[in-house]
């Protein structure tokens, strides 16, 4: 079984998918991620798929379930580095990647996590502040 390495970057966790993962590896990755998210109070998980040549529905479901798991543990998930051909195929397959944010690269992915964390902080303080505090891509990360 391939065990996927989980790296810590500030308050985010980074997972780089290099191989096609079998079911048991996916289960192990989810368990490891859940433990690490809780252990460091992670704000988010970044999944780097720049080395991934194809994403089928099984891989897509893995991203969605990691996102669902992370969300239950108060963390967001960003998939970064998707290849153009993979994006086209996903769209044509109609695979929505539910609950997953995407960014072009790691840096942009971390910026999304920062923005989301800031936004959640605002919502916690003022539950109806969402409409007053639009988050735009050009907004500087706090």
């Amino acid at each position: 079984m391939e065990r996927v390495l989980i790296l810590q970057l500030g308050n985010a966790l980074l997972v780089s998918i290099q191989l096609y993962l079998q079911d048991d590896s996916v289960v192990a990755l989810q368990e490891d991620l859940a433990e690490r998210i809780v252990a460091i109070g992670a704000a988010g998980v970044v999944i780097d798929i720049s080395a991934v040549e194809i994403v089928d529905s099984f891989t897509g479901r893995m991203f969605a379930s990691i996102a669902a798991l992370s969300r239950v543990l108060d963390a967001e998930t960003v998939v970064v580095g998707m290849r153009p051909a993979v994006a086209i195929t996903l769209v044509e397959l109609g695979l929505p990647l539910e609950g997953v944010h995407t960014a072009l690269d790691l840096e942009k992915g971390l910026a999304i996590l920062d923005r989301l964390a800031a936004r959640r902080g605002i919502e916690d303080a003022h539950p109806d502040a969402d409409a007053e505090q639009p988050v735009t891509p050009s907004a500087p990360a706090p």
Binding site: Q22, E53, F58, P84, I88
Partner: protein, 53 residues
């Protein structure tokens, strides 16, 4: 030999066979000079089928 019109057979028994199916299909797709996007679509479809075995 991979090329237009050639036929290959491959048994699918374990998860590792899914990876071999993808490699085989990608080889054929490249041999008939499919574009990268079409290669990706074809290999994705093959992967879906192989995973369902």
């Amino acid at each position: 030999m991979t090329g237009a019109g050639s036929v290959a057979q491959m048994p699918i028994r374990t998860g590792a066979d899914v990876v071999r199916v993808r490699q085989l299909v990608r080889g054929h797709a490249q041999a008939v000079r499919l574009s990268l996007v079409n290669q990706t679509k074809l290999v994705t479809a093959a992967s879906e089928l192989a995973r369902n075995m």
